[in-house]
Symmetry: C2
Subunit: 396 residues, 2 copies
Amino acid sequence: MGSVAPNVAELDGSKFNITRSTNLRDVPLPGSPEELSHSHCTDHMVTVKWTAANGWETPEVKPYQNLSIPPTASVLHYATECFEGMKVYRGYDGKLRLFRPDCNGERLNSSSQRSSLPGFKYDEVKKLVAKLLQIDGPRWLPNPGSFLYIRPTVIGNGPHLGVQVPKEALLFIIAVPWPDFTKMKKDPEAEPRKGLRLYASSPDTIRAWPGGFGYAKLGANYGPSLQAHGKAQALGFDQILWLFGPDRQVTEAGASNFFIIWHNTEGKLELVTAPLENQLILPGVTRRSVLELVRERLSQNFVGKLAPLEAVERTLTIDDIEKASKEGRIVESFVSGTAYFITPVAMIQNENTDINTLGANGEPAGYAAQIKSWLEAIMFGKEEHDWAYTIDNEEK
Amino acid sequence: MGSVAPNVAELDGSKFNITRSTNLRDVPLPGSPEELSHSHCTDHMVTVKWTAANGWETPEVKPYQNLSIPPTASVLHYATECFEGMKVYRGYDGKLRLFRPDCNGERLNSSSQRSSLPGFKYDEVKKLVAKLLQIDGPRWLPNPGSFLYIRPTVIGNGPHLGVQVPKEALLFIIAVPWPDFTKMKKDPEAEPRKGLRLYASSPDTIRAWPGGFGYAKLGANYGPSLQAHGKAQALGFDQILWLFGPDRQVTEAGASNFFIIWHNTEGKLELVTAPLENQLILPGVTRRSVLELVRERLSQNFVGKLAPLEAVERTLTIDDIEKASKEGRIVESFVSGTAYFITPVAMIQNENTDINTLGANGEPAGYAAQIKSWLEAIMFGKEEHDWAYTIDNEEK
């Protein structure tokens, strides 16, 4: 179910019906309340309707506007919804780029089918995003070195209230100015921090389970987790660190994947992150890119003062981390994701015990900064790389 | 979080702003395509806005209409949504009744807070429902012995795209004509059946987990389960029967609770259903009512030919059921819920094994029919009972 049946139209990101906005919106200033609200989208949006009977209709570009949704719609009752988080980057060469957009297209297709929503060819998604940015990019993202956040979403918007596989769906894509958390931390009023503070989840609340859907980017993974997230924030932490199982496996941190660099118990330098096999964690695009970059560029040789290390996907527990911290074996830890990018982690609180996850000298060792720098070079076009997808034909 | 902060307005179901529809909708005929679509609501709906800053606004009754929802709204991305299923019954005495509406109000409040949506006093919900039915009841539910389905829902409809506890919410209530599945089975064209056919879930797909949210009526419990539900239906089954854990515990059936009546291994006659303690299953209002009625009316004495039995909430496994079936110890089994009410179960398929769950003579023993009859007497006013809440002051 959810897949494209024969004789219905497939998603085609090469044809559009375009309705231009005649009432352009104000572009918020960086750091303004409008930008911080995460709600002030660009002038246009992309929508594509789907019905079980006819498949995907012609994509539309139209003025950004509220959606008209029946009170009986599946998405409002049964969480038939999934999304992607992407960014579009204005390169130092003036070009717009997406970062590995087919990874997002592939995951959105997978998430959509996991939600019993329709499938599509993964590479159509980047074409839809590109069309939106060809129109809104010049006005909304003029400055090299900056980005917009892109949110492709699929929802079940048909009017049938019965608990059933949706017969109608809507794919929509919006673009929104997003605070640059990296730059915000340089704000003189902000408390200086060496990294995020994570709050380990308690045994009575879990994010995902084997045989569940933690590996898919479904709305259903988020709403029920906000309670724990809100509790962590109220206690002064940045994110929740989700543990799982009686051995308290470290799975992922809030909306990002978790990495630790340590000397393992045999003394070997490793980058460790949770594995994908048991389908508990989201297979992050940034996660995958970190692993690939480390394996390609850091497994054999020193990079500056950074010693080579092995990237390992393996179950690790909070006790492993606490032990490594006590024994002075932790070199650095960080989270990765589209929204928070690559951010060092300073500490984890687990059951009232504070675990220092910075290096032995109280500073990140510099791996996260190096990886971030490599990724930014690709994203902003300093380095030519096939992970970057350039958006041409902007309408100036 | 999600609870009502001091100095913000609480939900008050005694005051309303009312806008009447001037364009009344057609009332669908029983069994018509409009009714079968589960989408043709009554003339009006109730909406109540909530903001973190000010709390609950004055409830509105207004013409049924689509909701205008920002594309960035929390409910579309993070499944900040929960609902209740209720029915309103037109009694044989001409009065409208709700069945234990405070149980639904209490569960909606609990589900809402579990979704980081606002809380409220449980008994306000029935007042909101009553107001809708005072207006729409006379035209939409004129016939004694019939019912409408009522859907109170809470969604996070604020425009903030960041992953955070919602700052805005909407409670809405709609009423929709719903097919009476009991009556439809009497349709001569329908295949005659002695009960539902359930398809036991496979170990690789799990509905809920300890520490999760299976006990709350969140959208997040439904969308991800549609895939398995769709598969079961495609194979010719009515519902999925959700198993859990290495011992394959029987938890609940699709959108309803599961009951079995058997002679246990010690020969004692029991009604068994899964317990609530581990928070895996939904604490159904009908489930609770079945247990209470059986304990009150069937634990000591014969009722007609029905022997007394003990109602037990206890973990049972699919192997227990298969063994009981093979040994001829099953007396009857059924599911309970608002949508499907009380419906006998004829068989369960588990890993290609068909388990007969009717009584030894191939017929339900009659307990489900008796319990259903007691409940209907209360719902339709044949029996005065404090589980029925009468809606007065209908606008004729």
